[in-house]
């Protein structure tokens, strides 16, 4: 397999970056990744939208938390099975408070786990083909091509109005 080179085009706005992403495939280059200092709907649209599955992790955490909260309150109550002031040992209304708080707690923990899994963080290898200007005011588009065609890719990005960086 021929060696591959990677080129990062740095655009001043997300509109130009999105147009470059759309034209990359027809010019025979492979789109790898886009970097931006803010979430950009234009870039998301150009890259091709898919829904984030983070919400499923959140939902799973919430369902677990709801069950766990109620189960904890019920389990601790029945360990000392004594009716006080005619109140039921397993009292669902006060236990709902524990269930609710645990729902939120575990939903948030599920959300964080989902974020870490989906974004694959921590990941320091992604910074190898990254330019610090992408966290400031530039929108980066990383593309690749077979070795020997890097001149064409550099020219492609320049024509689209980008500054360029090349990684062999």
């Amino acid at each position: 397999m021929a060696a591959e080179v990677r080129v990062l085009g740095l655009f001043p706005d997300d509109g130009k970056a999105a147009r470059a992403i759309r034209d990359l495939a027809s010019a025979g280059f492979t789109f790898r990744r886009a970097h931006s200092p803010i979430p950009s709907a234009r870039l998301r649209e150009a890259v091709g939208g898919r829904k984030s599955p983070v919400g499923w992790f959140t939902l799973a955490g919430g369902l677990f938390g709801f069950g766990f909260g109620f189960a904890l309150a019920i389990f601790t109550a029945v360990q000392w099975n004594l009716i006080v002031s005619g109140k039921p040992v397993v009292a669902l209304i006060p236990f709902f408070v524990v269930g609710f708080e645990c729902t939120i707690l575990f939903s948030v923990i599920g959300n964080v786990v989902g974020l870490l899994v989906c974004t694959r963080l921590p990941d320091f290898r992604g910074l190898e083909t990254y330019d610090p200007r992408c966290s400031a005011d530039r929108f980066g588009v990383l593309a690749s091509c077979p070795a020997g065609r890097e001149g064409e890719l550099l020219e492609f990005f320049r024509k689209k109005g980008a500054e360029v960086r090349l990684w062999p």
């Binding site: 200092p37 803010i38 979430p39 983070v54 904890l72 708080e101 939120i104 974020l115 320091f124």
Partner: protein, 434 residues
Amino acid sequence: MSELTFARIDETVHATLTPPRRGYWGIVLLLFCGVLLGAGCWVYQIAVGIGVGGQNIPVAWGTYLINFVFWVGIAHSGTLISAILHLLRAGWRNPIARAAETMTVFAVCCAGLFPFIHLGRLWQVYYMLPYPNQRQLWPNFLSPLMFDVIAISTYLTVSALFWYTGLVPDLAAVRDRATGMRQKVYRVLSLGWSGAHDQWLHYSRGYLLFAALATPLVISVHSVVSWDFALGVVPGWHTTIFAPYFVAGAIHSGLAMVLTLMIPLRRIFRYEAIITVAVLENVAKTMVLTGLLVGLAYGTEYFIAWYSGNPVEWESFRWRATGEYAYGLYFMVVGNVLLPLLFLAPAVRRSLPALFSLSLVVNFGMWWERFVIIIGGVAHDFAPHAWGLYAPTIVEYGIMVGSFSLFFLLFVLFCKHLPSVSMTEMKETLAHGR
């Protein structure tokens, strides 16, 4: 906002992270001495016993509980600003959201200390954990105090995770400009964030879900705190309006603390172009609303006491207005309800000295509200022979100074080491014209 650019936002925020001057370390030292004072008083109390505080029979809950409720209240506006206003797409919250979230985390830390302090025998804290004791008894979740343990620890965990998640893209931006050891530290803290399109896709979704989950949580936490009192059969406490009353008061006091912190921060760090007067004005307008809600709750309490026809309840409220602590009631009514109405005048809410002064007044008034509720209820309950008074001791004042010093110390350290304004959210505001 029109003169702002992405580069200018970065420059302004990065400039706050340059090595501090000597004056900064002087403030840090002063606050650290305050923390040491509080810690010393606490150690003294542990060594001698809880009796060094002014708590007595019938007033068993003193400044420790007042400060607990005060700090939990302060913690609420951070989540209001970062979560509720985020869901409502209120762009004006972006310049102050980070500092407000930070305030939330530090205020919950301060609040969380007080149950430990009030416990006296600190080493028996494990009684509150879901863990069987030597007689195989488990903590019982029918008690509002146990609800509190769950609610406050959930709130601390959620607000800390929410705060850190919001910080990650900004930590990456700081990493990209830092050098040497600082760069290594920020590199680890930012988890290798690169702002890749798929990272943003999941991040935006996750952040929205965070906000959606934090919103009911913030309302539930202060409701649970209010039930510490409302579920007790004590005149002045045993009322169904406590949950919304406490939530409104919490947001009111939290907004006041936002102004107290933001106005000096804006001046010291030259944030004038980012934290505009219009942003502070919006906080003041929101305080008019929360102040009126708090005023409605004060009035409703009196109405309920009168309309119930319960002589004990009515006596408790009569005593509040005419008894030994009547000044507390007037502090809270004037400070929390009447003076914030001055914000109805545009000239007042656009004046920084007026905003700052009134924010201090509301902080003062809200502390006294908690005094009136917590002390007033038990000091003058059912039986006249059991009535009693309470005054904090020097040890309690020392611990109170310690808690305020700890809060401001943590905030001062934060401001110089982490981005105190969210660069990402400010850039989004700029890009989307909100």
